[in-house]
Symmetry: C2
Subunit: 363 residues, 2 copies
């Protein structure tokens, strides 16, 4: 049993498969002599490297595996440069593929290498974390970090296939799994109130990683993301709503030093702030805001910063550098109600400052 | 007086202006508060940096200049990384532009930075060499070199405007100017016999950089390139004909150490080899092949390697890594007659080897 979600992007359309023991590379099966380089990380390779190679081999694709050190610190230009050299050593040419086997870091890094090696070769996403399955592996955003910020370098480069094998979630550490749930809640808030309520009603099943609920929520998240990406591939407009919670979330993640907060944890904190700003700026019902914060907490996610809260001036200057901004004005995604948000919102600096400092006093 | 050539690429269409004292940034004139970073090189900045800044200022665009060391050695990932940092320091955002002021190296490097900074911002090409005006500034190929080969990393990213100011050619060293003429001859060979003959009939005027002939030949080259690029933006097919002379040319350039041969010089050598291979493989008339070699020589270009000729094994292994190849088979563009070529041609290794070694004996 497996589910398929199609991402409709004209000649760049592709399928997301969700299930167990799925084939990899089916979109290439009529081609001969395709070489693949699997990029993975040191925490994933021992568990799933061989399985992925065998799945490719079953489609007639010979592959090599290049692991990178696990963790966000590998998502940089130097690591991309190392992968270019490895790609040459492996004899990759314009007909070859790169397979990203891992979480969001591996997908973004390997995707960026695929986007830029020989001016772009094809790549397949094989996400092994919940976060990557529901968010980063779909939609074609690839990139690496600079010391001054996340994803400042990158390209839009769609995969030709996304294979979400639910078995890989069984070995995912609890903290990483829970981190991914922040993005799951996000889809409910930005797009689908019924889905939000489904999450509310299945907290324990979700935390238990019950197979049925996993398949359902991952499929629904992919459907929502596919729908949004198909409307606005390059984020000229509506795709920005996927950044709900990310404006402050990215700042929290970067100011705390990459690694202190996982991406989803920082996004959960950012969603809580975005929710409160929505209450004051867009008449988002306080009860709904509390419901969202309650759901995030119920799933085990942080919704405020308990210690070493970044100084306001640091937060503000980091926000001004946000790549979504223009002319030095950070843009926010704000909720009108559960299931409906607005993008491109500007908020008076004083309002954000007030909320940021107020929260500090409450601790 | 100026000439305009349009590159038709749907919503990525843009104009090439050819003339003197041209405005820069006209495609942006209704926008407010656009920031620009001019990337230039240390040999161009002193002559044209200020002029370019003033031209932008006349359109209401404030700019900063970031020079890189002149020479192909700057076209690498480290230099791109430096430019990303500078772009952040200059406060560039998604609405900003990068202006590439210089030759092909600057255009490729700055274009790659524009293609990947914040997942892609707009850029303007202001070519200051003949080579850049007739070839590299048009068509959206951007990239940097790896130690193992030229342009191995890159992206397709079209400029929004190309401004070829003929005044800049007056300060171009003779060797660089002549190097650019190799690509001019190439357009005649691959596309337009009449244009080839026009070059033959105007050798002295061309070498004298006579303004009228310069404007005419640059315009015609841009028209041909625009026509080919509009048919096949991403080089899936016919665009490959622009690589006539480049398969062996790139190898000669890289095996001799970047800098020994200028790009156009290596391409002229590659064209001579491609012509001879065309005679044996595609019945290209020996007289026409000699005419082409004679024209290249007449313009002052090399058509064979006089000293330190790379060893055959090195040439062969470098050709196998050519990014245009697939499954370890280098592809050649071969001439049928002057003005008409074929792409994707495979040639028996022994044939290339024989020609390569034969030439050595003749010296």
């Amino acid at each position: 049993m497996s589910e398929t979600v199609k991402v409709n992007l004209g000649d760049r359309s592709y399928n997301i498969s969700i299930g167990r023991n799925l084939p990899v590379g089916t979109s290439l099966k009529s081609e001969q002599n395709v070489k693949a380089m699997i990029v993975s990380d040191s925490s994933v390779t021992p568990f799933y490297g061989l399985k992925c190679q065998k799945a490719l081999q079953a489609q007639g694709i010979e592959s090599t595996i290049t692991p990178v050190p696990a963790g966000e610190a590998s998502k940089n230009i130097q690591c991309a440069a190392m992968l270019y050299e490895k790609a040459l050593e492996c004899g990759l040419d314009r007909g070859s593929i790169i397979v990203a086997l891992g979480g969001g870091m591996v997908g973004d890094l390997a995707g960026f290498v695929a986007a830029t090696f020989l001016r772009g070769i094809r790549f397949i996403q094989v996400p092994t974390t919940l976060l990557a399955m529901v968010d980063s592996s779909v939609g074609g955003k690839t990139g690496v970090n600079l010391p001054k910020g996340k994803n400042l370098i990158g390209a839009f480069h769609q995969p030709i296939e996304v294979v979400a094998d639910l078995d890989t979630l069984s070995t995912l550490p609890a903290r990483e799994y829970i981190s991914g749930l922040a993005e799951v809640v996000k889809y409910g808030v930005i797009w689908d109130r019924t889905f939000f309520e489904k999450i509310e009603n299945n907290i324990q099943n979700i935390l238990d990683r019950h197979p049925d609920i996993l398949e359902q929520i991952i499929k629904r998240c992919c459907e929502i993301k596919a729908e949004i990406v198909a409307m606005d591939e390059k984020e000229l407009g509506v795709r920005a709503i996927l950044n709900f919670g990310h404006t402050i979330g990215h700042c929290v993640e970067s100011l705390s030093g990459y690694g202190k907060y996982l991406h989803g944890e920082a996004v959960a904190i950012g969603m809580a702030y975005a929710g409160k700003l929505s209450v004051s700026e867009k008449n988002f019902a306080p009860d709904d805001c509390n419901r969202m914060i309650h759901l995030l907490s119920g799933l085990g996610l942080p919704t405020s910063i308990k210690e070493n809260k970044p100084d306001w001036n640091n937060l503000n200057s980091t926000m001004l550098k946000d790549k979504k901004g223009r002319n030095n004005k950070p843009k926010f995604v704000l909720a009108e109600k559960l299931g409906s948000v607005l993008f491109g919102c500007e908020i008076p600096t004083e309002t954000i400052k007030h909320l940021w400092l107020e929260e500090k006093c409450n601790q």
